[in-house]
Every structure is written in structure tokens, then in C-alpha cells.
């Protein structure tokens, strides 16, 4: 690691969607902050100069949902292992859901997660505080205290509140403190026992399905409650065309709602389930090609403001069982950049748009004026080679989780340097 406090990044293509910059320019950093773009200020003597010729320099990525598994599930991963993987992925800030053990429902646990990450120094970790105590969906948490302890948002993780009255009260209480509530829209009863999208493939493979209505019923309820209460909600990981359309329609009416998508949902569909590949066991499930295309279109229009990794590292045993008995989720930090670039190659977004949805877009949802590179901003940034071709394998992943349907596939685009607060926290080897 290089601990130079004055660094110049020279000759790179600087892309900062938040300030509308896309040009070849030098970037000068001092004491952890962006000092200047273009010519160095008079008398500036960098301790280190990084040659970014042919590379892209952009704000560090902000990931709205990545599990680190600590505290409580250290057999799967730790804050150390996963923030290292985040650094290797160009991610400088991530939000972790509260489904740790113990749950992030008290300031003590929130501070433990946040401070452990800060001490390690690979990436900023912002814990999402639980909406209800123990995520049990009955009693609300001390939200003001959680906010004080550094939780920028609240979340129920994958355990939506069944009781609509509790949900309503939780939204009202959160709105008292201006806290956005992350919702994973799922009607638990409709999806009971399901593990894949209810449709052609579930019928063919005899796998219990999760119907589209499991998402749309929850989206409808939560939009109605957001409208009623004036609370600000964010749908984490939408998966259906109709769910996204309902969100877009409500936003036009002025409901304070936003949404994001997990990156794998933009590439995989229910058709990838053939052969019972446990790496395609995801919640929400992979849906149809029409859903995938609607998600892509919503991302392009801006109805979905952010791309998430939805990183869920698992130990080997978690996936060693018949498909429905495996743990859902994949390790997805390190494929974030190349898959986002694949969206560019496939014409879904332009390069600046893709970077925006990995930086300023998600930062705005966290209520942070971050994810940009103007003078005076923190020097959290990612430098990547957009042309480098590489193949992720279980052996080369930095994350402790080695499950991904994208292993063995050719990826284009690779992180060269990640800087956090002006320090190089990742440097590509070789």
C-alpha cells in the first residue's frame, strides 16, 4: 500500500458524471481530498505519480447492498475479507444490510461494523439499521439512535414486514428523522416455499415458484403506505417489469420512492436454471427475458437509479445440496465493473451513464453528496482499464465467497487502482 499524501493521476480519461466531466485530464490529490483537475496548482509536488494513460479515472463505486457476514457468519466471510474484495472491485463505499448476528438493530452493532471497516481501511462501510427489532417485524428499533450511530438508511433485509400496520408505523417513525427505508418488496405468503420464478421453468423443473405477484403486491402496498405517510422508500432489487412500471408511475405522481436493480438480474433469466445450477438460486428469483429487458430499460431511463452487486458470499457447503435447499445469493463484487461495462457494450447505457449508476446515483439514495470528483471531494476513486480481458475463477476471487454463475466467463474491464481517502488501497498485480 502506498501512503503518499500527495498523488497525481496523469493522462487518464476522467469521467465524473455528477459534474459532467468526460475528458483526458490529470487529477491531483492531497491529504485525502481532490485538490485539482487539469494543471497542478503552483508548487504542488506529488509524492507519487500514477500513469493512467489509456485508463479511465472515475469516482469510487458505491454499492447499496453487499453482505459482509460479520458479525455472526464469519464461516462465510468477514469484514476484512469482503472489504478487501470491494477494494479490488473499485468499490469505496458500501451499505451492508442488517441481517447479521446479532442484527444491526442497536447502535453498538452498527458502530462495530462501521469502525471495524474504518480500522481496516479498505472501504467505507455504512450499515443499514434494522427497521424492526431482531428483524422480527413487530417492534420498531431506536431509529434516531441508529442514525446517530452512522446508519444512513434503514432496512428489513430479506425479511419484509408482514403486518401492514407495523410497516406504516415504521415508515412514519423513520420519516420523523428523515431516514430512507430500504424495502425488499416480497409478499411472504405468495412466495412461501418458492425458490425460482413461477413460470415456464418452475413448471418444467418442478421447482416451487415465487410468482410475479409476490413482488407487485408488496410494491403496491408499500407505495400506498409511502404515499399515505410521506415517507421516503427505496425498493432494493426489483425483479419484475410490472413492479418497475408501478414504481415509475408512482414517481411521476410525486411519491418519494426510488429503486435499484441487482446487476445479475440484467443478464440472467429463468432459462439459466436448466440443470439446477445452484449459482442461479437467487432471491428475488431470475425472471423472464421480458422482465430482464424491462429492468434494462428502466435503468436506462433512470427509473432505477442504481446498480447493486447484491453480494452474498457463502461457504462451500451452503451450495452443496439439491437446488431448493441451497442458500440463495452469489459472490458478486468483483464482477460489478466488467458486467456494468457489458451493459455499455450491449447498448443499454453509455459509459458515463453506467458509471453514474455505480457512483452518484446510489450515493444520492444514501443521502450523501458523494460519488463525484470535484475539488474538495474525498479522494475515493477507481482507475480501470476498460479493455483488459480476464476470466474470474474461484481461485482468483478475493472474496471469501466463491459462488458465481459468471465464473469462467470472459470479462472485459479491470480495476487497476482503487484509492480511498487518497490512499492506494488496491493495486492490480502483474
Amino acid at each position: 500500500m502506498v501512503n503518499a499524501s500527495r498523488i497525481s493521476l496523469c493522462n487518464g480519461r476522467l469521467i465524473d458524471p455528477a459534474s459532467g466531466i468526460d475528458r483526458i485530464a490529470d487529477l491531483h490529490l492531497a491529504e485525502g481530498w481532490v485538490l485539482a483537475i487539469g494543471d497542478a496548482p503552483e508548487g504542488f509536488r506529488p509524492e507519487r505519480t500514477l500513469d493512467a494513460r489509456g485508463l479511465i479515472v472515475c469516482p469510487g463505486f458505491v454499492d447499496l447492498c453487499a453482505r459482509l457476514r460479520e458479525p455472526g457468519h464469519e464461516q462465510k466471510a468477514t469484514i476484512a475479507s469482503e472489504t478487501r474484495a470491494a477494494a479490488a472491485s473499485g468499490i469505496t463505499m458500501l451499505c451492508c444490510p442488517p441481517d447479521t448476528l446479532p442484527v444491526i438493530d442497536t447502535p453498538a452493532v452498527a458502530q462495530l461494523v462501521h469502525q471495524t471497516a474504518e480500522r481496516l481501511g479498505y472501504a467505507h462501510v455504512l450499515p443499514a439499521g434494522a427497521v424492526t427489532q431482531g428483524l422480527e417485524g413487530r417492534k420498531i428499533t431506536e431509529m434516531a439512535a441508529l442514525k446517530q450511530a452512522g446508519c444512513p438508511v434503514l432496512s428489513q433485509a430479506d425479511r419484509p414486514i408482514r403486518n401492514a400496520q407495523v410497516q406504516r408505523r415504521a415508515l412514519e417513525y423513520a420519516a420523523t428523522f428523515g431516514l430512507t427505508v430500504f424495502l425488499h418488496p416480497r409478499d411472504q405468503d405468495l412466495g412461501e416455499g418458492g425458490c425460482v420464478h413461477e413460470g415456464r421453468m418452475s413448471t418444467r423443473l418442478g421447482l416451487p415458484g415465487i410468482p410475479e405477484a409476490s413482488e407487485t403486491v408488496a410494491v403496491a402496498r408499500d407505495l400506498a403506505l409511502a404515499e399515505q405517510t410521506g415517507a421516503r422508500i427505496h425498493f432494493r432489487g426489483l425483479s419484475t417489469a410490472r413492479g418497475v412500471a408501478m414504481l415509475a408511475e408512482a414517481r411521476r405522481r410525486g411519491v418519494r420512492a426510488s429503486g435499484d436493480v441487482s446487476l445479475h438480474q440484467l443478464f440472467l433469466t429463468e432459462a439459466d436454471l436448466a440443470g439446477f445450477d445452484a449459482n442461479c438460486h437467487l432471491i428475488p428469483p431470475l425472471r423472464t427475458l421480458a422482465d430482464r429487458d424491462a429492468l434494462r430499460a428502466a435503468l436506462a431511463r433512470g427509473d432505477l437509479a442504481a446498480i447493486c452487486s447484491d453480494h452474498q458470499p457463502h461457504d462451500a457447503d451452503a451450495k452443496l445440496a439439491p437446488f431448493p435447499e441451497t442458500a440463495p445469493g452469489i459472490s458478486s463484487l468483483e464482477t460489478l465493473l466488467p458486467l456494468a461495462l457489458r451493459l455499455v457494450a450491449e447498448g443499454v447505457l453509455d459509459l458515463s451513464g453506467a458509471i453514474e449508476r455505480l457512483t452518484a446515483g446510489p450515493a444520492a439514495i444514501l443521502g450523501r453528496n458523494l460519488g463525484r470528483l470535484a475539488p474538495g471531494d474525498p479522494a475515493d476513486l477507481c482507475v480501470f482499464d476498460p479493455g483488459e480481458i480476464w476470466i474470474p475463477t474461484a481461485e482468483t476471487l478475493v472474496s471469501r465467497g466463491h459462488h458465481s454463475p459468471f465464473l469462467g466467463q470472459e470479462m472485459r474491464g479491470r480495476v487497476v487502482w482503487t484509492l480511498l481517502g487518497g490512499r492506494v488501497v488496491f493495486e492490480k498485480q502483474g
Binding site: 413448471t203 418444467r204 423443473l205 418442478g206 432459462a271 440443470g275 439446477f276 445440496a321 431448493p324
Partner: protein
């Protein structure tokens, strides 16, 4: 995705029998032809052929089933294999042993074939993917997914009565949603090229997009659905589906979807009636039909042994059969 079929070896021969999906009409026909040869074995004074002599077959049943296990056991013994019966149900897993631990422990006993029944869809595929390469897996039912030997014994029974698949209309009646048998039948009938497949049930018992998923026609009226069909296959309905959100009562189910002589009268005069057993008389069909002249239900049981012998011998047999059902060595 075009992944190679995990059921076939490099030469295209049957290695595992996990599902009908992805198998060719030629291969299914080979199973049926082989089973014809084995029907005679039961009539011999010595009901055995030496095709699997020296092989060890383990029946690995994570879900109880006396009937299916018995026919697999008989099939293996008639092929001269040694048979281990292991009723795992929940005991091993209750002790914390994983499915793979159980599997590897048995592999250490040099078993050549596992006949696996498991309550979870995809279990047989999972076991085949993780088993030692020399072991063959036969799926004896996984969740709602597949029960391919049952599907093939039903094809065998149909062919003995109706040799020309291309002209057949077949109706499958009952709980399609939860039925691995129906899925295997539909795939086999499709591969063998029948003219039309109908599924008949209330909407609660039909899986999502069943018509698009399988290329079948869905009916909600039994009399209409069995009109002019050559084969009626009744499925077993589990008692626990009754008095739930799926079905209100046995009474209403039988009233609307129970097979009676009267309802059957719209089918072809020579139509046959099948059921994988055990029958709930007065729920799926009345006794007059079950014991009537069109019923081939008991034949299905007999044929099950021959079909399972065929599949087992194709997967691990060392010899082939001549037309008299006697063993003949290949490659010395």
C-alpha cells in the same frame, strides 16, 4: 444453455437416468424394446438373467415408498445384482449428516448404482453431479420434478395396447402441479410423438403456464377433456391437498374430476385407463372404472419391473439380451 446431457456418457450411452428431458426418441424406444425382452423373465422357472451379476445396487430412499422400492429391488434381483435397501428417510439427516456425506459413505462400499428417491426437486441431478464417476444414478422420484421410470413404464403399457404413438390423444387428469409422474409422462409422450396431450384439473392444480411450458392443452372440464382420447391417465391426489386453499373437499373433487363410466363414455371406445397407484377409490375414480375392462392399472405394476430392468441393465449391465431374454456376452 447447451450443456451436454449429464445422463449420457461420451459414447451417448445411458449413464444415469434422471429425467426424460433431453433424451432422444431412439433411446426411449430402446428402453421400451429392451423391456419387452424382459417381460418373459417373470414367466421363466428361474426368474433371473445374469446381466448385472456382481454389481451392487443401493436403493437410497429419503422418502418412504414401499411399492416403488419393491419393484426396483425385484428388477435388480432379476438382473442378478446384489441389492442394498437403505431407508434414510430423515434419520441420517436428522443426525446432521448431509446428503453428500451419506452418498460418499455408501460409495466407499463400492456400490455401482444408486436408485434415489428424495423429496426435493433436483436431488437426483445433484447426486449425479457429485457422485464418483463410476456410479450410475437412477432417479426414483425427486420432489415434483421427475420420476422417469414411472413415465417409461406408462409408455410401455400404452405401447402394448396402442402401438402407434403418432395417432394418440392422451389425457392426464388431476394434481399436475405437484406431480413428478405427470411431468415425466408429458415429456415422454412428447418425445415419442403423440398427437395431443391434454391436462385436466382445476386451476389450482395446474402449474403456471403449463400449456407454454409443455406444449399441452389445459381443460377444466373432465367430460370435455376426455372426449375422443385414447388414453386416460389419472393421477393420485394427496389427502393433504384437501381442505386447503387448493381444494375444498373430496366430495367436490370427485363430483367434478372423479372418473366414472359415464364421464368416460365420451372417450374412444377402446380407450384405456391408467393410474400410477395407489388409487383413492371414490376420489380420483370410482371402483367400476378402476376394476373395469378398460383399466390397465395392474399391468402397469408388472410392466414396471421389466422397464426398470431395462434401464438398470442399460446403465450398468455388462451384457446385452437376445430376443429370448437370455444373456449374451459382449466384448468377452
Amino acid at each position: 444453455m447447451n450443456t451436454p446431457n449429464p445422463q449420457l456418457d461420451a459414447q451417448g450411452h445411458l449413464k444415469h437416468f434422471l429425467t426424460i428431458e433431453g433424451l432422444s426418441r431412439e433411446l426411449l424406444t430402446e428402453i421400451l424394446d429392451r423391456a419387452e425382452g424382459f417381460l418373459g423373465v417373470a414367466q421363466q422357472a428361474v426368474k433371473k438373467v445374469p446381466l448385472c451379476r456382481g454389481k451392487v445396487v443401493a436403493n437410497l430412499f429419503f422418502e418412504n415408498s414401499t411399492r416403488t422400492r419393491t419393484t426396483f429391488e425385484l428388477a435388480a434381483k432379476r438382473l442378478s445384482a446384489d441389492v442394498l435397501n437403505l431407508n434414510i428417510s430423515t434419520s441420517a439427516t436428522a443426525k446432521g449428516e448431509t446428503l453428500l456425506d451419506t452418498l460418499h459413505n455408501l460409495e466407499a462400499m463400492h456400490v455401482d448404482m444408486f436408485v434415489v428417491r428424495h423429496a426435493t426437486s433436483g436431488a437426483a441431478h445433484f447426486i449425479a453431479a457429485h457422485a464418483d464417476p463410476h456410479v450410475s444414478i437412477i432417479n426414483a422420484g425427486d420432489g415434483r420434478h421427475s420420476h422417469p421410470t414411472q413415465g417409461m413404464l406408462d409408455m410401455f403399457t400404452i405401447r402394448r395396447h396402442k402401438p402407434d404413438f403418432a395417432s394418440l390423444r392422451v389425457a392426464i387428469v388431476g394434481d399436475i402441479l405437484h406431480s413428478r409422474v405427470a411431468r415425466s409422462q408429458i415429456l415422454a409422450l412428447t418425445t415419442l410423438g403423440v398427437a395431443e396431450i391434454r391436462v385436466i384439473a382445476p386451476r389450482t392444480l395446474l402449474p403456471s403456464q403449463v400449456e407454454e411450458a409443455f406444449g399441452v392443452r389445459a381443460f377444466h372440464d373432465l367430460s370435455e377433456g376426455v372426449r375422443d382420447v385414447d388414453v386416460v391417465i389419472m393421477l393420485r391426489i394427496q389427502r393433504e391437498r384437501m381442505n386447503s386453499a387448493l381444494l375444498p373437499s373430496e366430495h367436490e373433487y370427485f363430483h367434478l374430476f372423479g372418473l366414472t363410466e359415464k364421464r368416460l363414455s365420451g372417450a374412444r371406445p377402446d380407450a384405456i385407463v391408467m393410474h400410477p397407484g395407489p388409487i383413492n377409490r371414490g376420489v380420483e375414480m370410482d371402483s367400476q372404472v378402476a376394476d373395469g375392462p378398460r383399466s390397465v392399472i395392474l399391468e402397469q405394476v408388472t410392466n414396471g419391473i421389466a422397464v426398470r430392468m431395462a434401464v438398470m441393465s442399460m446403465c450398468i449391465g455388462t451384457q446385452t439380451l437376445n430376443s429370448q431374454g437370455r444373456g449374451e456376452f459382449l466384448n468377452g
